[in-house]
């Protein structure tokens, strides 16, 4: 029901006529759509936070005197969380093009900027990838040549799980993520200048095949970086499981970014409560989807009770980890399910912001639950090292996005032919 009824006054904007911006270059609805100084200052501040956080984490990790083992696990946890945002945003942008979405045009540039963090995320992965490539089994047991020889299963998997092929795959994934993000951003910026349907169509054409490759890259990325931490465990749904977190994280981030821009007086009229409502719906939907995928994986392994698979869950139900597992179920599904159920919550900025932060927090909890049991420590290792790594990665992603935003002229694709529809968008 996309028909528009002008009798409804949009929540925040004045009564100015909608849709006239399709012709104008700078002012859409008389809205401020340039990034402005706030973005620049965010970029420098976030970069500072990133350096401080990661620096603190490294220093503390060094003091642990375990050859950076604890730090590596803490860093991987935080990194997979940051990667979820970047890849989720890339998926989001590709999806909007693929299905020719109209409602989301005003948010698309923000999504493109978030998706443009892929190269930075590639660089941030180096502390994980390089030790593995050099044969250190600090994170991945299969990287160690001797262990592979001693273990029949690792030996069997060696054609796939070996340092060289791992590095090759890593390069391929991130080259693809970077190129895809670049492509969409560049085309979108070109559209700002020339306008026209042709560019939109070109992006749509690319989105189809890109989505196939993206699905494969994301899956194997998750298998390589997360599942192979415990290389004897396997689950066919694992890629989908990580994907669910990606989409949840990206939509939460988009909502937060939009609200932050509103706070800076940007896009206040273009991004309306209707768009936020839709992002809220996606957050809700993927909270449920995550639970569906998580339950499918858990229940099937629990039910069949095959030792090759159950040990992974057994680790996560032993000792303090049982608390984390329960917390994950309650905090990642039960609480946000009821919290985000109502449409009023999704249309209330503060409430939505709360649940967006909440979602990002539980995605981190999920990553922690995926990664940390492999560390094998007594109790739950959580302390300044983990916090430092998380703050550092969050700062780095934010800085990357802000630097990206500083380079663009407009924060919405001003000449996209579907923009008026997006501006006038209303929910049922």
């Amino acid at each position: 029901m996309t028909s528009k009824d002008k009798d409804r006054t949009p929540h925040s904007s004045s009564a100015s006529p909608k849709g006239e911006g399709s012709e104008s270059d700078v002012h859409v609805l008389g809205d401020e759509i340039r990034p402005g100084p706030a973005v620049s200052s965010l970029a420098t501040k976030a970069a500072g936070v990133a350096v401080l956080g990661l620096g603190a984490s490294v220093v503390l990790g060094m003091l642990e005197n375990d050859g950076f083992r604890r730090f590596s696990y803490a860093y991987l946890t935080a990194y997979m969380w940051g990667l979820a945002i970047g890849l989720g945003a890339l998926f989001w942008v590709t999806l909007q093009h693929l299905v020719n979405a109209k409602w989301s045009i005003v948010l698309r540039r923000v999504g493109e900027i978030l998706a443009g963090t892929a190269p930075v995320l590639g660089v941030l992965a180096l502390p994980i990838v390089i030790p593995a490539f050099l044969g250190h089994d600090i994170l991945y047991p299969w990287a160690n040549h001797d262990r592979v020889h001693a273990d029949h299963l690792l030996h069997h998997k060696a054609p796939y799980l070996n340092p060289t092929f791992f590095l090759i795959r890593f390069v391929v994934y991130f080259a693809f993520f970077t190129l895809l993000g670049r492509f969409f951003l560049k085309q979108s910026l070109a559209q700002d200048k020339s306008g026209g349907v042709e560019i939109a169509k070109r992006m749509q054409r690319v989105a189809g095949p890109a989505m196939i490759l993206f699905g494969l890259a994301l899956t194997f990325c998750a298998i390589d970086l997360l599942m192979s931490l415990e290389p004897s465990w396997f689950s066919t749904i694992f890629g989908v499981y990580y994907f669910a977190s990606c989409v949840l994280a990206a939509n939460s981030c988009l909502a937060l970014a939009a609200m932050w821009l509103h706070k800076q007086g940007r896009l206040t009229r273009s991004i309306t409560v209707e768009h936020l409502h839709d992002l809220g719906k996606m957050m809700f939907a993927f909270t449920v989807f995550w639970a569906y995928i998580g339950f499918s994986q858990f229940m099937l392994i629990w039910y069949a009770n095959v030792p090759e698979e159950t040990f992974w869950y057994k680790e996560r139900f032993a000792g303090d980890w049982a608390t984390v597992s329960t917390a994950l179920l309650v905090l990642h599904f039960v609480v946000p399910f009821f919290g985000m159920l109502s449409r009023h919550v999704k249309r209330h900025k503060k409430a939505l912001a709360f649940w967006a932060f909440w979602s990002l927090a539980v995605v981190y909890l999920d990553m922690y639950w995926l990664v940390m049991p492999a560390f094998g420590a007594e109790g739950l290792p959580f302390g300044p090292i983990e916090i430092g790594a998380l703050v550092g990665i969050a700062g780095a992603v934010m800085a990357a996005a802000a630097f990206g935003a500083r380079k663009v002229k407009n924060l919405i694709p001003v000449k996209d032919p579907r923009l008026p529809a997006s501006l006038a968008f209303e929910n049922i």
Binding site: M1, D7, R8, F295, M299, Y303, N305
Partner: protein, 405 residues
Amino acid sequence: MSDEHKKESAAAEKKAPLHGLLAEYETPWQLLEAAKKVRDAKYERWDTFTPFPIHGIERAMGIRMTALPWFVLAAGLTGLTTAILLQWWTNAVDYPWIVSGKPFWSIAANVPIMFELTVLFSGITTLVGMLMLNGLPLPSHPLDLKERFARATNDRFFLLIQASDPKFDEVRTRALLDETRPVVLDEVLEDRVTSDRMPRGIIYAIIVLATAGAIPLALAAKARFTKSRDTRLHIIQDMDAQPKYKAQRQNPVFADLRAHRPDVEGTVAVGELRDDDHFYTGKVNGDYARTFPSQVALTDATMERGRERFGIYCAPCHGLAGDGDGMIAKRAEYLASTGRGRGMGWVPPTNLNQDYLRQQPVGQLFESITNGVRNMPAYGPQISTEDRWAIVMYLRALQHKSAAK
């Protein structure tokens, strides 16, 4: 305008009071504008009728959000609770039953049905709640008498202000509606034609159906509370009646009427010739044999076989060491000590490490196993001859061991 009325008598028409004023529009947006005017004029008892939902009409008419979602939420939670209680009560309390090593109450395995019942309850409530809040089913309405109004479900848009509205005034309301420039502005009279009572045919049909429907219930009720000497109705035979004769039953084909045929005299079935007393009965010339028969190899393999068979057939009562303290004996003692074993007539199993048993010839032990002793049943039919000898051999070893202590 009376030409538009149905074929009812003119007299009835005149008597009928005014139900309201009906305005007809060609397009939805004309209706929207008109609705806003009526809303702003603060009418309360009025409505619009359209062939499809008009976007924005709620606002134009000032309709408040329905409470339906709350009913649905309540129904969903009821469904969830029902599912949890149902599965907990049936599988964990009333009829606990071990299946594939799962706990009686397996929450993970209960999730699918929790979900299904939540959705089922909510879904039914959504439809039923929508109908009830809408006052449906509603068989008749004064508007039905307007032939034009049939187009409300096709291509026209109507607005009705009821005469019962406190602000209704025939002249002023008509003027207000006139302002909105309807295609037709018409009076709607109260329905004095349609009977308030249900048509006879429908009532009879309901009575007949209800009676017919009650017959099986009545039969079932009767069957529950009466006694009968007849055998029960056996519609589906399953495997209850099979065309065969069972042992110990009569069979008219044979003169002796025995269904179970005895062996033909003077014959031995293949593999059942037992002409070695020592091996098969444990006796030599009528006395219990003191040696093992030649068919039993006195080897470690036989001993191992005996240990295994002893563990399966003897240890449950006599215990792994033969001390008469097997699991069954222990449980019986426990039940007896708690008083729950009364009336069970339990005779404790024999301690096999007693001197008189140590001195028994192997042939006698063999015979005891074969034919049973006191309460102990015969194991001859269950355990092969070789295995029985192997058990005897193992038992002897146990007795030697216990004597050496």
